[in-house]
Symmetry: C2
Subunit: 125 residues, 2 copies
């Protein structure tokens, strides 16, 4: 078995976007917080599956980005699942420190939008 | 205030892809399962924020898709947050029935990939 390419059977299941990427949702395996979303190509996924640490493809910098190499905020892999249509990964991790570059626990902290929430008693589908 | 367009201040914060879309991660507000990922344009987000139910833009069908209108598997909004770089939404919901069209609780059920998990005692960043 080659360690230099993604398993072809898995590669066949991926439905990549026009840039060759799938979406990767990262969730803290313990707190179950959704921490962030990144992007992976086949090689980033191969590294993530085989190294025990999460590697993304940075769309802005156009390079591989192993989370924590610069910040120390490593994401240790606890599990990875592919969704039903093959275009999204759910990566369960043990997060070291803050997931967000701003120093917050998640990239969604402080981002609440004003949403209408219908009272459960009033819900009619 | 117009109800026919997304709040311009919010629209300014969105970093849309080349198709005018942002990624929307849907999480069950109670179980905290990540249920699915969909896509929203400004109008889908406006409807989702104002109606109390989740509407996506279907990239394959090229139309708005209010979750549950066909299946009955409604997603009632509990909260919405925008991430730090403005290209991803986290939508907390009360999910009625199965989130996945296959009848499973989430779109990731049954999709586990073989990932190396490093024992916490052996982790060296």
């Amino acid at each position: 078995m080659s360690a230099t390419a993604l398993d072809p059977a898995l590669a066949d299941r991926l439905k990549r976007d026009e840039h060759g990427l799938v979406c990767a949702v990262v969730q803290d395996a313990t707190s179950r917080d959704v921490l962030m979303v990144g992007w992976m190509d086949d090689e980033a996924l191969r590294r993530t599956l085989s190294e025990g640490r999460v590697t993304f493809w940075s769309r802005s910098r156009r390079e591989y980005w192993r989370k924590g190499d610069t910040s120390g905020h490593v994401q240790w892999v606890r599990g990875i699942a592919l969704d039903c249509d093959g275009d999204t990964l759910l990566v369960q991790v043990d997060q070291v420190g803050a997931a967000c570059h701003r120093g917050t626990t998640t990239c969604f902290d402080g981002g609440d939008l004003p949403a209408v929430v219908i009272d459960p008693q009033e819900r009619r589908a």
